[in-house]
């Protein structure tokens, strides 16, 4: 029992470090292709965190959609707009000092809220046979948002083709 808990802690810290390191590379590297690869690393770390949280379906969706689709989309956009950023220009714009200040401020606020709030944690076990339940919920309780999202995906599909067409 104790060993499995220790392993869970180790897995969590390794995956969190991977996610944070990937995110750091993604926002700081000059070369955008490398930044996108850092983003993929971060996505994989986040998927691992979902596994630690016992949300297998969300983890697999994360790998499929983020790592499989969105990263490829971003890499394609970088390739199609390549060679435009001059190497003498810095990767950050003129407001990066304010941006750093705002980010640190927001982080301090979030940290304060996360630590000082008394979360009503209930140590219940995770739901068994989760994926069938999730499927049923999606087409019963959450039917309206489900349909709205499918409509949104259709609009995004048509819109992306219309906007990017020559």
């Amino acid at each position: 029992m104790l060993t499995s808990q220790l392993l869970t802690y180790i897995a969590f810290f390794v995956l969190a470090a991977v996610a944070v390191l990937g995110a750091f590379l993604a926002v700081t590297l000059r070369n955008l292709v490398r930044a996108a690869l850092g983003l993929i690393l971060s996505f994989m770390g986040v998927a691992g965190i979902y596994f630690v949280l016992e949300a297998e379906f969300v983890a697999v969706v994360q790998i499929l959609i983020y790592v499989g689709a969105i990263s490829v989309l971003i890499l394609f956009a970088i390739m199609l707009t390549r060679g435009i950023m001059s190497s003498t220009l810095s990767a950050e714009n003129s407001q990066w000092v304010i941006a750093t200040f705002v980010s640190v401020l927001v982080f301090a606020i979030l940290l304060f809220v996360a630590i000082n709030t008394n979360w009503p944690v209930s140590p219940a076990a995770a739901v068994s046979d989760l994926i069938p339940k999730l499927g049923t919920e999606l087409v019963t309780t959450y039917l309206l948002p489900f349909e709205a999202v499918s409509l949104l995906l259709l609009a995004a599909l048509v819109g992306a083709i219309v906007i990017a067409r020559e």
């Binding site: 965190i49 979902y50 971003i74 956009a77 996360a114 999730l134």
Partner: protein
Amino acid sequence: MMIPLQFYLIVAAVLFCLGLFGALARRNAVGILIGIELMLNAVNINLVAFWRYIKPSAPAFDLAGQVFALFVVTLAAAEAAIGLALIIAIYRSRDTVNVEDVDLMKW
């Protein structure tokens, strides 16, 4: 004893603020999109962590956190597709992806 909920919230806060910095400070429009994706990921970690640790009062909403996370993933996909299409359209008409050069609507 499980990993405390606060650990997940702190990791999500770090990811969110890194993404916020990227979205605010990057010069390249694709870099801004990368920052936004990181922020959406951080929100999703929070949703799934709350699902795992806090039980809703009504049993009908047992899976609300996961369902929300799935909807956020869908929206992120739509947002990435539209955003990148816009970037490619701007690149075609103005030959730049530097957001400081695209300031026609700025006063």
